[in-house]
Amino acid sequence: MGLLAMFRSKPNSASIAKERLRIIVAQERVGRGGPDYLPLLRRELLQVIHKYVNVDPEAVQINLEREAGHEVLEFSVALPEKPGA
């Protein structure tokens, strides 16, 4: 980096890329190997919830866990602090 460039403060784009990838890759790995209907299920559940509460799409988490002999579908929604806000 040259002297001039040092005075320009730039966010480090490589670390932004890494952080974004870390999150999306982790999220996509969870759905992997699960049934194909999971993304559709997530979308439809989100639509139903939206009729009552205005939640952020990222506040809806679906988790599929496999334990010996059975699978657990975990579904969590973080509600906004003020309903309807």
């Binding site: 784009s13 490589a14 890494k18 990838l21 890759v25």
Partner: protein
């Protein structure tokens, strides 16, 4: 014992064919008997990178359909005695490749005593890409230090773990390696590009090679001489190292640091 290696990536334009060509040449240079197959049906390109495009008479689909014998379709490399190329066909019929057909060709190559079969995958996750990886023992996942390439590579890793002959039959799965291409050490040092460590951490895989970004790659494809033959190029050394690691040699990664610049260049940039 034949080893089948798929060179794959998900995303297009990251250097799969360049890598297939150079790795195949690198293995053949070490005396291995190598067949390199272009799985990109409809978009034949490996022949151009290998510089044998005018010698293609029969292709992969011709062999599968029984239009010719495998021996008639294998193009013997003019530089390396033990290297053979099987070109993709240019048919638009997407169903020309079948699992059964691919298996037959691979079995015949194995019976012929090839040490390595390199499968150059097309981009995407459609049939060609699926069949290129299906019978693989190992995978070289080519990735650029860029978000979409890394994400697509992870998708491919998921498919390697679930949609291959080895994963389906519990043979210990496909052994996976990462190969970074277009790596620009200066931009990594400036925080403009993810580092090899970043990508290794995100994908959780061993790195078999880091290929520096270089004009030598375009020059090599222009000439139809795989870049590994350019003895003056860092790219050739980096591919040579990757081939050595593939054969089990433990070599440290090179070309991860930017070349040292003079005082004036450092102070004034540029």
């Amino acid at each position: 014992m034949t080893e089948i290696i798929v060179v794959t990536s998900g995303k297009g334009g990251v250097g799969k064919t360049t890598t297939s060509a150079s790795m195949a040449c690198g293995l053949a240079r070490r005396g291995k008997r190598v067949a390199v197959i272009d799985f990109d049906i409809g978009l034949r390109n490996l022949d151009l990178i290998m510089g044998c495009e005018r010698r293609v008479v029969y292709d992969f689909v011709n062999v599968i359909n029984g239009d010719c014998a495998l021996k008639q379709a294998l193009i013997k490399d003019k530089r390396l005695e033990t290297l053979h190329v099987l070109a993709a066909s240019q048919t638009r019929d997407k169903d020309a490749l079948t699992e059964e057909g691919v298996r037959r060709v691979l079995d015949e190559l194995i019976a012929e005593g090839f040490d390595y079969i390199i499968c150059d995958s097309p981009a995407g996750i459609e049939k060609g890409a699926h069949l290129a990886m299906y019978f693989a023992d190992r995978a070289v996942v080519v990735v650029n230090p860029e978000v979409s390439s890394v994400r697509d590579s992870d998708r491919i890793l998921g498919l390697l773990a679930s949609k291959t002959h080895r994963s389906a039959n519990g043979n210990g799965g496909v052994k996976e390696h990462l190969l970074l291409t277009r790596y620009n050490a200066r931009r990594v040092a400036n925080g403009e590009m993810m580092s090899v460590g970043d990508i290794k951490e995100i994908l959780g895989l061993d790195v078999i090679g880091v290929i520096p970004e270089s004009p030598d790659v375009l020059a090599a494809s222009n000439a139809g001489v795989p870049v590994i033959f350019n003895d003056d190029s860092d790219v050739a050394s980096a591919y040579g190292d990757a081939v050595a690691r593939l054969l089990g040699e433990a070599l440290p990664l090179r070309f991860l640091e930017e070349p040292k610049r003079g005082f004036f260049a450092r102070v004034f940039g540029g």
